[in-house]
Symmetry: C2
Subunit: 252 residues, 2 copies
């Protein structure tokens, strides 16, 4: 553990529609899982409105605090898509027509669909590197450690998979989940003891109610497989000590 | 509009399981919709890990910046439930056994289930007001403008509905949604003009892909019904101008 630097990330979800409850975000869960596999720990997520000052302040705070920052939302063709301009301001750079992005869009749209609004998607902060969009062509971009992605999950996910190999991660964290119908209150004391035996493991308890009965899923996280397995085995023993058996994993 | 103060809120989602992507949050969408109906604007959401210093700093930043703050997660019986203690520290107060909370738990559990771990859920920051839990009894609490709730959506929602009438909202924001298969890039210019005609309305464009075809949902938000309807009617006319008709609402 000690030889490895922990690599951290933050996600900024930009969009009034998420805050109003109208749209259920799907990007956080995707990025959390993907980054974890790459050995990057997603440490903070902020959901903010389409307000320029808020975007600028949030980006500038988080890009200092984390190794990687990802933003989703606000890079489309309409008047409420203000992320690219706000990112340029956050970095003190200009927004300018990017020749490669322009060529991508001109090659994608029929001539009658080439509108000023669509070509706005070729305006990229100066100094940024484009991130390819295999679905609808309009690119995202990376500026230093900030990766600017669209909000539509299918497009965001396809783009992430094209550049994720470039992210430099630390040690991946391995996890084991053990679900049972022993309530977490019953397990709590024993679980605390197990946590104390493995102080650098992260042991979480996630209660649920299903078919009118309480249960809990216990998750052990640690970079070392032996440690994960040993702690998980102690949790299984504790569950059996309460006369129950582990069940198929529940994802509440 | 000008006579009404805008009432704002922030939500803090506390939990490693959300950041790891293991658990899909469901509390943001619920609270966003409910607060909107009460005339409270959810302006920021932060998802943070179960780390005491992070909880303290986040709570203290957001409770100054917003009229209401809600937290979800971390008030159960296990070792990783550290929210109540962190909130006490954020407010510079003590965590102490709350007689009413204690009585609720003692009345709920069978004698053999009364464990120190479960009774930890009766430790509440001094000065807080309990928030009733009609599902599993262990209460949440309110300290000044901060409402501390559990993470399990069913319990959180039941609790919110018991105290939400006490929240003092401003003017509710009304919304109209218009969905069509006219791509947002085609509508963008016209939509920008409509936004300019209704500068204090919030007009959003949310693209989607369904059955392999692009479409977009346009949402108009404003406290005044006439304004919402007038802007929505102009959007419908614009869609017809592109030879299409509005369709049933899509929620991407």
């Amino acid at each position: 553990m000690a030889e490895h630097k922990t690599i951290t990330a933050a996600l900024i979800i930009i969009g009034n529609e998420i805050l109003s409850g109208r749209t259920q975000d799907a990007n956080l869960a995707f990025l959390g899982e993907q980054l974890n596999e790459l050995g990057v720990r997603l440490r903070e997520v902020r959901v903010i409105p389409d307000v320029e000052d808020t975007i600028i302040e949030t980006v500038n705070t988080l890009r200092q605090a984390f190794d990687y920052v990802f933003t989703t939302g606000g890079i489309g063709p309409t008047h409420d898509d203000i992320t690219s301009a706000a990112i340029a301001k956050a970095f003190g750079t200009e927004l300018a027509r990017h020749p490669e992005a322009e060529a991508l869009l001109l090659g994608h749209y029929k001539p009658e669909d080439v509108t000023p609004a669509r070509m706005k998607m070729a305006d990229i902060p100066v100094g940024a590197t484009l991130l390819d969009n295999p679905v609808s062509k309009a690119p995202g971009f990376r500026l230093e450690n900030v990766h600017v992605l669209p909000g539509v999950p299918r497009i965001m996910q396809a783009m992430f998979k094209l550049f994720s190999h470039e992210l430099v991660g630390g040690e991946p964290v391995l996890a084991a989940s053990i679900t049972s119908r022993v309530p977490e209150g019953t397990m709590a004391s024993k679980l605390g003891e197990i946590q104390d035996s493995y102080p650098d493991a992260d042991i979480g308890s996630y209660p649920f109610i299903k078919d009118g009965r309480a249960g809990a899923c216990f998750v052990v996280r640690h970079p070392n497989k032996q440690t994960v397995n040993a702690a998980a085995e102690e949790i299984v023993e504790a569950i059996r000590g309460f006369g129950a058996e582990p069940e198929a994993d529940e994802r509440p």
